[in-house]
Symmetry: C2
Subunit: 156 residues, 2 copies
Amino acid sequence: MHAPFPYDLDTAVGYAIGHTAHRLKMGLRRAFTSAGHDVTPEQWVVLYRLYESQGLTQVELGERTVKDKTSITRILDRLESKALAERRRDAHDRRSQRIFLTPDGRDLVEHLVPLVRAYAAEAFADVPPEDRDHLRRILANIETRLDAMPEPKDPA
Amino acid sequence: MHAPFPYDLDTAVGYAIGHTAHRLKMGLRRAFTSAGHDVTPEQWVVLYRLYESQGLTQVELGERTVKDKTSITRILDRLESKALAERRRDAHDRRSQRIFLTPDGRDLVEHLVPLVRAYAAEAFADVPPEDRDHLRRILANIETRLDAMPEPKDPA
DNA sequence: AGCGGAAAATATACATGCTAATCATTGCCG
DNA sequence: CGGCAATGATTAGCATGTATATTTTCCGCT
């Protein structure tokens, strides 16, 4: 209606990225539940990383999933309560936990992968391969820049 | 370590989008707090939409911010408690609330906009304009596809 | 040795999103 | 006109993310 300064959120690239990311995640969530799997997209990522490399520390898991330590703690609580993963105290460093998938956890990952592949195939069906590469490159470009941006808290 | 089926999360476009979106949002959050503004990125979007058009219904606000009705309710609770916005019962339909920014709310938006612009300028500094356009187009493309995808629950 | 800081994990408090259920109001339709 | 489905909003329950503080354990360094 009125706009005393020029700004248009709707053309903001960052907003568009967030918007698309949100919808993609929600779609994946629904793909999981409608296939009868009681698992969230976040749990899926953790399970996937554990499938890749068992025995990770929670810190390592956090790095590989780009999640906070506290989020990892809680997600593992749930995965353990669903008997999909288990924590084992590290023998050499008793501060650490080593995380392993249970057989059920491995099974679940193997069921989830085709689902994820199918979902991605459909969601990106209209995006030609060269656009996907371009997209990846642009996003990597942005992240590189974000890495270089000073943390507001420790500019020293 | 072992990979009985071919899948690589790290090359998944959807994962990259989510990753970048997450980091962008966190950077914006920190830009706000380090500038002394007690406001979240989600609240920013709501405030911005209200600045654009005062007197929106919560449903309309939800559409314009791509947020759930319940999220809108709670965010407005907080904005009201911070005296940035206020709800007024619609005279013609007493189920609806019309939402308005307070003077403080308008002031805040006007302070936030330059912050957001500066942040975006820095985050996307390495992305040439034609790449931004391309990015927007690809994302729009994906969303169009998502719109066309059947809701798992009501495929009819 | 042994002290003190760093590291790993947990706990806590708050903000958000999703789902499902509920309440009040509206309005259509027989 | 009168009941009942649809609509706007709220509430409650769960999962996640952020920030901060705490606990336990390790390790470097004097």
